[in-house]
């Protein structure tokens, strides 16, 4: 286990390092050199700046001093990121870390709720389908699951926005809270806090619904497959012969063994869905991470773009790292070294 821990930590650090290097390379390879572009922009907007001031500003924005030798540029860039300095956004004219720091909680909130709901619904449904294998319920649910799973979540999002947002007017069509709601999370002011949370959930509900509707089918099908496999195992027959209660068999034997393999899937889903947040947040004009990345790409705002990329990627790398380390807690076979090579 110790050896595995060391190896996994090393891998996580190496991945983070690769990501940062990749982002550095991408900035350097950008066509039309972002630094020159920025320099031109600065000269146009403030004609009375001296050359030196402009150079300093450019470095301040993109964290790379183009006059230094390549390896120094790289080391400076990495050091900057490690200090949490991601440069300064051109279009928003604020530090990138600040903008993304404000956006991150919203993305994490909306998508964690969505993914947890998606897995809860999918797992429950998949288990029922497995128990009723071959019935009309199973067949029709499988069909619906495949259809929903073939739908990109932004298509569902557009439909929801059209029907529930614009046509029926039941849900807000943009933003993450209403303008009159004060964002407070304070146990001393329960009413205001409740209002804030309720409003946030209300604003995120269409987005959450879009993720859940398109995602639960895949989870349900996977759970169904796993459960059917477990239901055919010998130890289950033994458990029945021992006269264990049906609930105990269903929860301790079937559910546990069927859900375990999906744990990593859950964490991979986090990465995939948060990565795919860009399109959804754009559709709902929900100012989270993805929204800012798209805005940055559209406005050629390189610092914000690379900052968003680095932040999302590091978040996913850390998530996967935690997942792998905690997998031993969920699945005892890993810690006892059964097949955890």
């Amino acid at each position: 286990m110790y050896e595995y821990f060391v190896k996994r930590t090393g891998q996580a650090i190496f991945t983070a390092f690769v990501v940062i290097t990749l982002s550095f390379g991408l900035v350097r390879l950008m066509p039309g050199n972002p630094a020159d572009q920025l320099r031109g922009q600065l000269i146009r907007n403030n004609p009375d700046l001296s050359q030196q001031e402009i150079n300093r500003r450019v470095e301040n924005y993109i964290n790379i001093d183009y006059s230094a030798p390549l390896h120094e540029q790289y080391l400076d860039y990495v050091a900057g990121i490690l200090r949490g300095d991601l440069g300064r956004s051109i279009s928003q004219n604020a530090p990138v870390s600040e903008i993304l720091g404000q956006a991150l909680p919203w993305t994490v909130f909306a998508f964690s709720v969505a993914i947890l709901l998606m897995f809860a619904v999918g797992i429950a449904l998949g288990a029922i389908m497995a128990y009723q294998e071959g019935t009309r319920f199973d067949v029709s649910t499988t069909g619906i699951g495949i259809v929903l799973n073939s739908t990109p979540n932004y298509v569902t999002a557009l439909l929801f926005l059209y029907v529930f947002g614009f046509t029926l007017g039941w849900f807000p069509t943009s933003g993450h809270i209403s303008s009159q709601v004060v964002p407070v999370v304070n146990p001393l002011r329960p009413v205001a806090t409740f209002q804030f949370v309720a409003d946030a959930v209300y604003h995120a509900s269409l987005l959450i619904a879009a993720v859940v509707i398109t995602g639960f089918g895949g989870v349900a099908l996977a759970m169904r497959g796993n459960s059917i496999q477990v239901l055919g195992e010998d130890y289950l027959r033994v458990a029945r012969l021992r006269g264990l209660s049906d609930t105990r068999i269903a929860l301790r034997y079937v559910a546990r063994n069927a859900i375990l393999p999906m744990y990593t899937g859950l964490l991979l889903a986090f990465g995939g869905v948060i990565g795919g947040s860009a399109i959804l947040e754009q559709v709902f004009t929900y100012p989270g991470l993805g929204y800012y990345i798209v805005a940055a790409v559209e406005g050629r705002d390189y610092p914000l773009m690379m900052g968003g990329f680095v932040l999302i990627t590091l978040a996913v790398v850390v998530g996967a790292f935690i997942a792998d380390l905690t997998y031993g807690l969920v699945d005892p076979r890993v810690t006892t070294g059964g097949d955890g090579s």
């Binding site: 390879l29 071959g134 932004y154 298509v155 089918g217 055919g232 773009m305 996913v316």
Partner: protein
């Protein structure tokens, strides 16, 4: 059953010397061709025909390929102002409407009755036919999907097979690369790469969008190869002195085909979702290129959300995306059964033991479908 049969048929053809005394009766050339045809064409078709999902999937995929290949010739190219603005679908009613016209066309000098379509699915806000746009976007879509599928399959199987077969340091290195690629969140990287490269060519676009897709396949193939390497029948084949290509072709490939199909289709599906999404965000270059994502974007930004008049403009590309990706998934599941030797045996007329495992087919676990985008 039929698979083993095929091996022996093949072995007779290729293996000169060897164990020549297995059978006294030899097949005539015609017989052998007939058997091969039956094995590779008739039996798969029978499997597909007997499975509802495979039937629907094949039908959808074939339809889309037909639309992509023949469609652009049959349907007029969408042009601005070719019809009224925001004409509804099936103008004038499904029956007797003005959206179709019975006329005649001349094929090779003979006049045959023909139905001319006039914007059957309506038009957008500049008067371009919706059906026309969807049809003319299909070839590029299919090219992109095909190139992505090919890229993912080649790279994924190669890396996975090498990693699993060679082992040692090579395996360690390749596995690390695969792990890293798998953890990178796809879309942000794609956003940046696409902004950087501005790919117009559908083949290039397909490859860029599937830059991550191969890793999942490599991992699946690696674990399969690791398992297969040590199975007794592969060892037996090696002990018999069969060449590595022969072992790979006859023992390994049929076993990893389902994994290849599922991963390939998943990668294709992701490429469809990602490309349409990126076109929707307006991040991919398009000037005269029609694409379903561009249609969605235009419909969304030009008030398709606010009025019912433009609903068809929004819904038609959505339906196309869903049908294509559903067709691919169902097709892959159907192929899973085609490659499954137990299912095939039931449908193969030459290998005549039909009583084998009547219900085995129903117990094969359904292939799981991955999560969202």
């Amino acid at each position: 059953m039929s698979r083993e049969n095929s091996n022996s048929v093949g072995a007779f053809a290729d293996d000169r010397g060897g164990f020549g005394t297995v059978s006294e009766s030899s097949l005539s050339r015609l017989d052998r061709v007939r058997r091969l045809l039956d094995l590779w064409i008739a039996a798969p078709l029978r499997v597909i025909w007997n499975d509802a999902r495979a039937r629907i999937g094949t039908f959808l995929v074939v339809t889309f390929v037909l639309v992509g290949v023949v469609g652009p010739w049959l349907v007029a190219e969408p042009r601005v102002g070719q019809a009224g603005l925001l004409v509804g679908p099936f103008q004038g009613g499904i029956v007797g409407g003005s959206w179709y016209e019975l006329s005649s066309a001349t094929v090779a000098g003979v006049s045959v009755p023909w139905v001319a379509l006039n914007w059957p699915l309506g038009t957008d806000n500049v008067g371009r036919g919706i059906l026309e746009q969807v049809v003319h976007a299909t070839p590029r879509m299919l090219t992109m999907i095909a190139s992505a599928g090919l890229f993912v399959t080649v790279l994924g199987t190669t890396v996975g097979a090498v990693s699993g077969y060679v082992g040692g340091n090579v395996d360690q290195g390749l596995s690390t690369v695969v792990d890293i690629v798998l953890t990178l969140p796809g879309l942000p990287l794609l956003l940046i790469l696409v902004a950087l490269l501005q790919p117009e060519n559908p083949i290039v676009l397909g490859i860029i969008l599937s830059l991550q897709g191969w890793a999942g396949m490599a991992r699946a193939i690696r674990s399969q190869v690791l398992t297969l390497r040590s199975t007794s029948y592969v060892e037996a084949a090696r002990a018999m002195g069969l060449s590595t290509p022969a072992i790979v072709a006859k023992e390994i490939v049929p076993n990893i085909m389902p994994f290849v199909m599922i991963n390939m289709v998943n990668a294709m599906r992701n490429v469809i979702f990602a490309s349409v999404g990126l076109y929707f965000l307006g991040l991919l270059p398009f000037n005269k290129v029609v694409n379903w994502g561009v249609m969605l974007q235009l419909a969304y930004s030009n008030g398709g959300m606010l009025t019912l008049d433009a609903a068809h403009w929004l819904i038609v590309p959505m339906v196309s995306i869903v049908l294509l990706s559903m067709g691919l998934i169902l097709f892959a599941q159907g192929m899973d059964r085609v490659f499954n030797p137990r299912v095939r045996a039931r449908h193969s007329s030459t290998a005549g033991d039909d009583d084998e495992a009547e219900d085995a087919e129903f117990n094969t676990p359904t292939t799981s479908v991955g999560g969202g985008l």
